[in-house]
């Protein structure tokens, strides 16, 4: 749930990058952190293990500027993708306004994407939220690997596996090169703000 401060005219919006382990959620935020310097006011916070796996979450506040006189502060979070961390994933989802589901396009990750998306659905239900209602954007990440001869799932397969019922907007992307990372971010922010406006005004 977004938080609106009528005194200071600030809207805080929570967007969570969700997906299986090592799919590239943290890499998305790192790219955003590097390339939108003038919209980022403070340091990125990363709670991670020695092996650079997310332990709790990454947090990056992102200033959108003003819409209708309101200062929009986007709070970007990632969840830890490793299977054993579902309790913490759930905590991060509390009060979520918009979600990017980052799928790993590598052929060998096919099952893991599906399992992660199913668990997202269940986790949202535990907050009485529905995956069909929360603004959601699909990102099929690591498409750059194709050039290196690593087998990648065709987008049609990913769409069929993950997005046939949800019908969410989707992007092929590469979080390491930044390809479609800004497009994904812009899309999720736009969908989220539209949904908040519908609820409020």
């Amino acid at each position: 749930m977004s938080f609106i401060n009528l005194k200071e005219k600030v809207v805080q919006v929570k967007i969570v990058y969700y997906g299986p382990g090592r799919c590239g959620k943290t890499t998305n935020l790192e790219y955003i952190n590097r390339s939108f310097r003038n919209q980022i006011v403070s340091e990125m916070v990363s709670l991670k293990t020695h092996g650079d796996r997310t332990l709790f979450f990454d947090f990056l506040p992102f200033n959108m500027g003003k819409i209708k006189g309101y200062d929009i502060k986007i709070q970007l979070y990632t969840v830890p993708g490793q299977v054993k961390y579902n309790a913490t994933r759930k905590l991060v989802l509390r009060g979520v306004d918009g979600i990017v589901f980052v799928a790993d396009a590598m052929v060998k990750q096919r099952e893991k994407n599906i399992r992660s998306l199913n668990q997202l659905h269940e986790n949202l239900l535990s907050y009485k939220e529905s995956i069909f209602k929360v603004p959601l954007v699909m990102q099929y990440n690591k498409v750059d690997l194709k050039e290196h001869g690593i087998p990648i799932l065709p987008t049609e397969i990913l769409q069929k596996d993950l997005n046939s019922r949800l019908q969410a907007p989707y992007f092929e992307a590469s979080a390491v090169t930044g390809y479609n990372v800004p497009a994904t971010l812009k899309k999720v922010i736009a969908s989220t703000i539209i949904s908040i406006q519908k609820k409020l005004f």
Binding site: F3, V41, L91
Partner: protein, 132 residues
């Protein structure tokens, strides 16, 4: 109370309570956040400036983690959390199911005295909330 929106009036009233009961006592910084990590309001003594947005995200995570641990050992909740440092300490207290009050303070203040005031502040904030 709709937790999504707070009016100018509500925030001003809460700010007044925080200033009166905690900042005047010598607390460096007080933040009211919700469990999702949003800031409802933040007050400081204008000497200490913290990155309150990151702080709120971490504090909500911290509180949620301890809350989940409480459930695992069969406790309803640990409604109070306290971290003590050399120079400064942090005190967390639950206002209700959705809101947390966080105070940062130095050595000059005793924990006991702070707690009394925090209890008072929470009572007053709750009363305000329930009116709206």
């Amino acid at each position: 109370m709709n937790y999504g929106i707070v009016s100018q009036e509500q925030i001003e009233q809460i700010d007044a309570i925080l200033t009166d009961k905690l900042i005047k006592l010598g607390v460096d910084c007080v933040i009211v956040i919700d469990m999702a990590g949003n800031i409802i309001t933040a007050k400081d003594n204008s000497e200490n400036k913290y990155d309150v947005y990151s702080f709120a995200a971490l504090a909500a995570g911290n509180f949620a983690t301890v809350d989940a641990m409480a459930k695992l050992v069969g406790e309803e909740e640990f409604s109070l959390l306290f971290h003590k440092g050399q120079e400064s300490s942090i005190h967390f207290s639950k206002i209700d199911e959705e809101l947390l009050l966080i105070s940062m303070f130095g050595q000059e203040i005793s924990l006991g005295f702070l707690r009394l005031n925090v209890v008072d502040v929470i009572e007053q904030i709750k009363r305000l909330w329930n009116k709206s």
